[in-house]
Amino acid sequence: MTRRVAVTGIGVVAPGGIGATAFWDLLAEGRTATRGITLFDPAGLRSRIAAECDFDPFEHGLDANLCQHADRYIQFAVVAAREAVRQSGLDTGSLDPWRTAVSLGSAVGGTTRLEHDYVLVSESGRRWDVDHTKADPKLHLAFAPSTLASTVAEQFGARGPVQTVSTGCTSGLDAVGYAFHTISEGRADVCIAGASDSPISPITMACFDAIKATSPNNDDPEHASRPFDARRDGFVMGEGAAVLVLEDYEHARARGADILCEISGYATYGNAYHMTGLTSEGLEMARAIDSTLDQARLDPTRIDYVNAHGSGTRQNDRHETAAVKRSLGAHAYETPMSSIKSMVGHSLGAIGAIEVAACVLALHHQVVPPTANYETPDPECDLDYVPRTARPRKLEHVLSVGSGFGGFQSAVLLSGTGGRTR
């Protein structure tokens, strides 16, 4: 027996504003939060732009221990989780801790801190036999990826299954998907689910430079992230977090919670093709979409909006366009499909959760967020990408899709509270 899964809270830490309200305002206004990198000196890099969060952990009420010792991506996750739990109205003190789970994703985890200390212990890359006496005694917390889920679990006293998911750039979708399974299959009643990454550091920027995946449009950062536009030239790095409270539908109803929407399907497949490459066919992503529709017993024509991966690389945009056409058929041409990466950049593992949060807000506001900077159509990408301006629309069922290094192709289906067919 599978149980229905409700979303009862969301929290967001995104470039352009902290909190779900600021995040939605940015999307609804079609503003971009991409700019020249300020978190470190990017001189010498090919891509020197990013979507950064203006984030002060003290201002958001984190205690001294978290402010001083927790990595930035963990601070993001805690702030987003607190917002989500607050909105859900859950009294964490009265929850059954063994039935409360955590499922959080991150693609690169503590690498920013790891790089920072690497520079110290290696004397700026001079030594292979690194000097351990110069390392932070708490460096193991950056080394262990599960610090993310553990730290958030401790905040809320969760004692059920606590997982950190790391499937590259689909980590956020997959973390929400694992949480969906955890609740629908009865292993927990509440799951704090989402993802966080703070990858804006020299090593991460340099490794994407090396494969020319990121945009070199350093002179015009505000317009550098151009998904589906013929003049796109790569993605713009981002950072941030989004966390959702997922809950057994009956559990949420019994306590009189405000149910924002439901997660009604999740699937992931591997493309078994290339670690970074995508085919122009989109077969595996289409299969993931088809599977979510099967789970919800929905006809493809019921999809009202597709939140695209839309990274702004040529191969991604045509891959994804092909996948959506394959799954939705002629209906694809009538379905708006936009990429919020045009505004908040690509925060690697976090972005999938941020995009799911955007879908929750889109359902709530009945508005489709736009693809900012979209001006010049590309003949290879001929769907309705919602250029530049948000669009009011009746929304019941929306899809969020993503692709990740390693070949991961994932899809999450969300359904508004009025749109159920089961």
């Binding site: 693609a107 690497y118 599960s146 299969r287």
Partner: protein, 414 residues
Amino acid sequence: MSKRRSGRAAVTGIGVVAPNGLSTDAYWKSVSEGLGVLDLITREGCEHLPLRVAGEVRSFDPAALVEDRFLVQTDRFSHFAMAAAALALDDAGLGGEPADPYSVGVVTAAGSGGGEFGQRELQKLWGQGSKFVGPYQSIAWFYAASTGQISIRGGLKGPCGVVASDEAGGLDSLAHAARAVRRGTDVMVVGAAEAPLAPYSMVCQLGYPELSTLDDPDRAYRPFTEKACGFVPAEGGALLVVEDEDRARERGVPVRGVVAGHAATFTGTSRWAESREGLAHAITGALDEAGVAPEEIDVVFADALGVPEADRAEALAIADALGAHGTRVPVTAPKTGFGRAYCGAPVLDTVAALLAMEHGLVPPTPNVFDVCHDLDLVTSHARPAELRTALVLSRGLMGSNAALVVRRGDDSAR
């Protein structure tokens, strides 16, 4: 998909790359004989570190098992994982490309990533400049590298996943695969292999308060004794092939065991006294899912962290969950002979459990004598016993607890 479905996740293939054996047979020989292979670390650049003893995988020749085009773009942890996956698929009789690529998925657990590769690229970046960072850093260092490469190498397009976890994630990955099989995927390749012994990775581990820094390989890792002084890290791991039991029987391949039950809990980082309740809760949950009574557990593969407070909590958790049976059931921890390979450790324990059931032999706990807890810990020599059901326990340094029940294959047949 096949038509008949048992809903039971059968293990049909095993692949091992461990400090005490580079094949399943070699691993079992070492484990059953209680061979200790912990030794001083020989990896370049580690000589000066205050962590001298580990379980190293030696004489592993990745080029003999993995093609060059994969080797250049991957770290040692992925070499281990790809080699173990290929061994497991061969063992299961699934060596070629699958007829339906979507019918086979991959899930791995990872707790340390591609540290040696990452350190090399960090050295290029900071020593020489950003233009010297190679094109494979973006796909070698991150936790998803092994799942992605196994999927690509085998043409496996089924559900693919990665739990980036502490030790207990190794058991979580097995449960993840078993659930994927129950949801309808024919076959899952699952497990974990780690390579945490590069210099910088070792520096990163020095802060773990549970780490043993004794430099005598025979005395560094002695859980459940008064001499317990922490755990010894290791590299390597194992991958398994898990598939629907009826499908395995249709194919006519031996079922080496069944993943029958799992549960996971969390009780806080390094709060070992509290892990008693969390581990007991996980054991009870795993028994419930498996439909197994406490008295039916024939052997327990312990987490055996080697920290006195944690050892006590584990001994008490076994008693809490299994009742009086908990003090009578044979308990073992073969990993004291070769160390804890993070997420790989409980997968290697699961392999040992499956092989113990096959051979009717509880392997011993090397280097451990004078047990100071109320447990029937098997020491010195393997003990013959009729084994039908095994319980594998794991706790992670960040606070996870997990329990897995595995049953002997032939008993699970209808």
